[in-house]
């Protein structure tokens, strides 16, 4: 058939192109062809184009009868050749006008060619499109259905948003056309018009037509309509909700092969229509129980029938069903069917099917993690696959199945992949994912700092600046607890400092902006903590960093980075006590800087250094980024000066009438409190403002935003100061708040009521502002959070948490029986609220606190779980999730415990304040069952009875024996020296800190707990309140050593610090978590 209707000329052209040896040769041939075509157009001139354009077809004056104008066949070939030229990448615009002309031809074939060339060649804003409108309008209403069809096709590709109004009426008119082929195209075209310009097509009319056409007698029309319904329903599902029965009936008919056999494809009945309907069902069934329930049966049928065929087309249907099943309100039977289809895909040898398997798994695993359990090996294999596409999907899967246990492994993988990636889209995506899981699941603060710094190193330019702010405030605030966990905070700071010092020493010229700025701030604040490099060496390094060419280029040469480094140098000089030569030189250099801000800082610093060095410490207070900067708004320190001036005859200050500047100041404080403040006259400030301390010499802290009460590290961009001020976090869109809360979770300190002594002054103002905001949010919170709602909480948290909680609650309520692990993700977000309770509301020991304790207890369980595993175990421990889920009975009560803490709190409340474990115990024990991925059915069996039967102490304690791998651990009888010897040999360490415990308030109680757990008491050192125990598991293959220190304080409570060391990280982690639960 080849070559028909072609002139010899064109045939030769194509042939010679086909035979051309090089791109150059091809270009030469095409350029020649362009010349020929232009000549043809030139020869056409006598006919005058203007007379030949639409409206005057065939109106040429040509005499030869052989010009393009008169000979349509030639004109058509001319256009085809123009199109060919364009396809080979050359400009054929000289011929477009002929295409417009041909669109007006009487002959349908020529008309179609004209339209087609226009659609292929004219860019959206090409002015020729306007010339075609008239023609399209005429063709749309033509009595010849072929002309209508041609025009409809043209409409879909040639109409631009501003032209929609010109044809929409005609297109709507064609929806009722007699010929199905016209109706089919008309509905698609109308939808296209709607997409282009929603205002120009009345939505109601479109929806009404679409609903009607779904029931068209012609399957082709119905099939085309499905596309439109899907697209519309994705935007607004409401008008299509009631279509479920119709859709189901259509799908049923298709599955039962009641459609004409011409729609079969490889003996599968109308696969595309099946998929479309399933897709629409998934859109409608999402978040709609009733609609979902209606479609279970047909989905099952559809899936089963498709499973039987086992070819590509049917697998595509299976895949669509899987996605639908995971999206709609879940049904266990269907989920299992989907799960086994996923298994089949994953184990397939076809790479495409494996890809679909991974994608399907990713869509199911988020809500139903148990399905991941069977596929660890397959997933690991996919991770090692060379196919980039498959690998990316697998990473996405990993991201979705992240939980507190495997977060380290998964983050490692993602970082590794990010390092090797060059695709900007992928990098951005991965960066976001890493930030998300690092914030959500970080096992501890040190890990978070390391991970985020690593991320900065790899892709700092893609990171949301808020992440850097979070990191810095985390370093500054530590766990966020005011109650004397200063030690852990210092360890974190030291880790951060050493991390950055190493960076500074190793790669000063390869850092990006966010990394440099973070580094400058951390070292500036805490550089003195470094033990691997002396402070003056760090100052030196910073000076080099400042002067490096790389730094100058950062942020497009923005001065803020350099200002930050300068500030850091100044802070460290102040810490160091004298100014190293390098720093002096740098600062001197910058007194001549073209950046006025930097210049001012340096000049001020120089003056201070030379005239009043003792003030440096005041100006750069050490570790004071969290301290409130006291701003004497009344400028009372000037009073003396003023009085003197007045007494010397100066005119007293007259307050201007138009004095609303305060708005700006209070506005930056808090929108909520601003009004309240304005209503009443100013009273004495609640805080006594220290006299004349300038937190920075720069002018920045005098700015309206910073001056209020934000603690300012000297200089730098305002964002870096933002987080320490809780009010800043009101904006719920900022991820930082979430981190702030999660940060509390990470702390090794269990979030328990603070000791009375811990009521520290700097944060006293905080509860007040929290209270205002938190109260506002508490009331709209769903009733189920009643227990949580009341306590004042950080503002944005309830928004996010409530949403998540709601989802999790739904999911957990539904799948409590299916998967115990469902709650794992629920726990961290739930955290901040109970944490906040004791901390914010009543900072003193009083009856409410014990009541709150049980609430916090089960929820805090994931924290220890997190520290447990060794990296290579991470993925595999999914297996035990599966085992977990076998014990449904266990899962259910724990679900209730987790998510409806209110009754528990009430139940526990009547108990007298000092009593030890009993009230808390039954609640605690199920917690590990739901969260501990290592726990086995054996352990769970032992515990199940506890919450159900009674609150009895003996029951709970009796079943409290610690089991590992389903077997109780055995006491390891060793002596103290042996203990010491083994201590050093154990590779994994798991610290447990309980800031206030009543169940282990004395050493002997602590030792009892250990012994009851099945350990051997090695030694009890009453003098120092320390005790050591040892146990072994697996017949001695794994050994765990425990060291505990009890620091009692008033109220019968004690702080307990336990370190678990083990040869087996899993054992150590589980034991640590177990102990944390027991020590309450």
């Amino acid at each position: 058939m080849s070559g028909m209707h072609l002139s010899k000329e064109f045939f030769e052209l194509i042939k010679s192109i086909g035979e051309s040896k090089s791109k150059q040769e091809e270009d030469r041939i095409i350029l020649n062809e362009i010349a020929v075509l232009k000549k043809k157009l030139e020869n056409d001139k006598p006919g005058s184009i203007s007379t030949a354009i639409p409206g005057a077809p065939g109106g040429g004056v040509a005499s030869s009868g052989n010009t393009l104008t008169t000979n349509k066949k030639k004109a058509r070939e001319f256009l085809v050749r123009v199109l060919y030229v364009e396809m080979l990448g050359h400009d054929g615009s000289f011929g477009y006008i002929k295409a417009v002309e041909l669109a007006a031809s009487q002959s349908i074939v020529h008309k179609r060619t004209g339209y087609m060339v226009c659609a292929c060649c004219l860019s959206p804003e090409h002015e020729f499109r306007f010339m075609l409108v008239n023609q399209m309008q005429r063709d749309l209403i033509s009595s010849n259905l072929l002309e209508s069809c041609g025009a409809l096709i043209a409409v879909t590709s040639l109409i631009t948003p501003d032209l929609v109004g010109t044809v929409s009426t005609q297109v709507i008119g064609l929806l009722d056309h007699n010929a199905e082929t016209v109706r089919k195209k008309a509905i698609v075209a109308l939808h296209r018009l709607y997409q282009l310009s929603p205002e120009a097509v009345p939505q109601n009319e479109l929806i009404e037509k679409v609903r009607k056409m779904l029931c068209d007698r012609d399957p082709g029309v119905m099939g085309a309509t499905l596309n439109v319904i899907e697209s519309l329903a994705r935007v607004n599902v409401a008008p299509f909700k009631d279509l479920v029965p119709s859709l189901i009936s259509i799908l049923k008919q298709i599955c039962e092969r009641r459609l004409p056999s011409e729609y079969d494809y490889h003996r599968i009945p109308a696969p595309w229509m099946q998929m479309k309907i399933v897709r629409i069902l998934s859109v409608i069934g999402k978040n709609d129980v009733q609609a979902s329930e209606g479609m279970y049966e047909i989905l099952g049928d559809c899936l089963r029938k498709a499973e039987e065929a086992g070819i590509n087309a049917s697998n595509a249907i299976v895949y669509e069903c899987i996605r639908c099943i995971t999206l709609i309100y879940p049904n266990p039977v269907l989920l299992d069917a989907a799960g086994s289809s996923i298994s089949r895909f994953l184990s397939s040898r076809s790479q495409n099917l494996r890809y679909l398997g991974v994608t399907g798994l990713a869509s199911i695993v988020e809500r139903h993690p148990k399905y991941a359990a069977d596929h660890q090996l397959a997933v690991i294999e996919c991770l090692e696959d060379k196919d980039d596409t498959l690998l990316r999907k697998t990473l996405d899967l990993l991201y979705r199945m992240t939980n507190p246990v495997n977060v380290e492994f998964i983050t490692d993988r993602l970082l590794h992949f990010l390092r090797g990636s060059t695709d900007p889209y992928l990098k951005k995506d991965l960066t976001g994912k890493i930030c998300t899981i690092a914030e959500r699941y970080a096992p501890n603060n040190g890990w978070y700092v390391r991970t985020v710094t690593e991320l900065f190193k790899i892709a700092g330019d893609l990171v949301d600046p808020a992440v850097a702010t979070n990191l810095m405030s985390l370093v500054a605030e530590g766990t966020g607890n005011e109650d004397g966990d200063e030690e852990a905070d210092m360890v974190l700071r030291k880790q951060a400092v050493e991390l950055y010092v190493t960076l500074l020493a190793s790669a000063p010229n390869r850092m990006n902006r966010v990394l440099v700025e973070t580094l400058a701030w951390v070292l500036g604040e805490y550089g003195y903590l470094s033990s691997i490099m002396s402070l003056d060496a760090i100052i030196d390094g910073m000076c080099k960093l400042l002067q490096s060419g790389n730094t100058a280029k950062l942020g497009g040469g923005a001065p803020s980075t350099r200002r930050l480094i300068l500030s850091a140098i100044m802070k460290m000089v102040s810490q160091y006590g004298s100014c190293p030569a390098a720093a002096a030189k740098v600062i001197d250099d910058y007194t001549k800087s073209s950046d006025p801000d930097a210049q001012k800082r340096c000049l001020e610093f120089q003056t201070l250094l030379t005239t009043a060095p003792h003030l440096l410490v005041e100006v750069f207070p050490v570790d004071a980024s969290l301290e409130d900067v006291d701003v004497d708004e009344n400028l009372s320190f000037l009073n003396g000066l003023v009085a003197e001036a007045v007494s010397n005859g100066a005119r007293p200050y007259q307050k201007p009438e138009d004095d609303d500047d305060d708005d700006m100041y209070s506005g930056s404080l808090s929108a909520e409190t601003a009004n309240a403040f304005k209503m009443t006259p100013y009273e004495k400030p609640t805080q006594t403002y220290a006299q004349g301390r300038m937190a920075g010499m720069g002018s920045t802290n005098m700015g309206p935003g910073g001056a209020a009460n934000t603690p300012l590290p000297p200089g730098g961009s305002p964002t870096h100061h933002a987080t320490p001020n809780p009010v800043q976090a009101v904006n719920p869109a900022q991820p930082q708040l979430q981190l702030r809360n999660v940060a509390n979770v990470w702390g090794k300190q269990a979030p328990l009521p603070p000791a009375p002594a811990a009521v520290s002054t700097p944060h006293v103002p905080a509860p007040a502002s929290y209270g205002g905001v938190g109260g506002g949010f508490a009331s709209p919170a769903p009733a189920s959070y009643g227990g949580f709602g009341a306590p004042p909480t950080p503002a944005a948290a309830p928004v996010k948490t409530a949403e998540q909680l709601e989802k999790e609650r739904l999911a957990a309520a539904l799948f409590g029986g299916i998967s115990a692990t469902t709650q794992t993700p629920a726990a961290p977000p739930a955290h901040p609220i109970p944490v906040a309770t004791p901390q914010m509301s009543t900072p003193m020991v009083s009856p409410p606190i014990p009541a709150a304790t049980p609430v916090a207890a089960p929820v805090s369980a994931p924290a220890p779980a997190v520290t447990a595993p060794a990296p290579e175990m991470d993925l595999l421990d999914m297996g035990s999730w599966g085992a977990d889920t076998g014990a449904m009975a266990v899962a259910t009560p724990s679900t209730i415990d987790m998510l409806a803490p209110t009754p528990i709190a009430e139940a526990a409340a009547p108990a007298p304040p000092p009593p030890p474990a009993p009230p808390a115990q039954p609640e605690q024990t199920p917690a590990p069952a739901s969260i501990d991925p290592f726990a086995d059915a054996g352990l769970l069996d032992g515990i199940t009875s506890a919450p159900l039967s009674s609150f009895g102490l003996s029951d709970a304690m009796g079943s409290a024996k610690f089991e590992y791998g389903g077997v109780a651990v055995a006491p390891l009888t060793i002596t103290t020296p042996q203990f010491g010897e083994r201590w050093g040999q154990c590779p994994s360490t798991h610290p447990v800190n309980v800031p206030s415990s009543s169940s282990a308030s004395t050493l002997s109680k602590f030792m009892d707990i250990c012994v009851r757990a099945g350990m051997h008491k090695v030694e009890e050192i009453a003098a120092t309140n320390e005790g050591i125990c040892a146990c072994m598991a697996g017949g001695g293959t794994a050994v765990a050593l425990v060291h505990g220190k009890i620091s009692p304080f008033s109220g019968g409570q004690s702080r307990v610090d336990v370190t678990v060391k083990s040869t087996d990280p899993q054992l150590g982690g589980t034991l640590a978590m177990y102990l944390q639960n027991m020590i309450r």
Binding site: S93, S123, I153, A189, N227, A270, N312, A316, D387
Partner: protein
């Protein structure tokens, strides 16, 4: 939704290219602003001159060619490309590539390609590259009866071929 449909040979010559969503031009190519630019109307700011649009099409087409030809036969037939997905399939020396949205069903479009090839095969009776080269305008016509406005419009082979043949007869 389909963004474009490409037919290229192994050497990278485009045999057919149909764009349902014009490519973003200028620096928008590497910005994420195009993520919701499904319909050209939603982002009129991206319109530029004919030359820019054509240049961007040519750039993407050559990139697609590079991507699909460099992949191992054993690999998946899917590639994540910018903010959408490429589904490709090779028949002898010809690569058929469809670009679709990320949430679209890969396998379904893989079969859509195959259905198109079956259509060509029926129409040309044992289609080969030369048929397509010499009759690319007809191939466009078949495509227009098969896909419309970025959606699969008709999946009945008979119906599509009847339409095209009817048009043919009028010629």
């Amino acid at each position: 939704m389909i963004r474009f449909f490409l037919l290229q040979n192994r050497q990278g010559k485009t045999r057919l290219s149909k764009w349902y969503v014009p490519p973003p031009t200028g620096n928008a190519a590497n910005a994420s602003t195009t993520s919701n630019g499904l319909s050209p109307g939603s982002n009129p700011a991206l319109y530029t001159t004919n030359n820019q649009t054509e240049a961007e099409k040519a750039r993407i087409e050559s990139e697609v060619h590079r991507l699909v030809t460099s992949r191992d036969k054993k690999y998946t037939n899917f590639i994540e490309y910018n903010n959408y997905k490429l589904i490709y399939r090779r028949y002898a020396g010809l690569f058929f590539t469809i670009a679709v949205d990320v949430q679209d069903n890969e396998l379904s479009f893989l079969e859509s390609i195959h259905l198109f090839v079956e259509l060509l095969d029926s129409y040309f009776a044992n289609v080969c590259e030369l048929d397509i080269v010499f009759n690319f305008n007809k191939v466009y016509m078949i495509l227009d009866e098969y896909m419309l406005a970025g959606e699969i419009e008709e999946t009945s082979k008979k119906e599509i071929l009847d339409r095209v043949k009817f048009l043919e007869k009028l010629d």
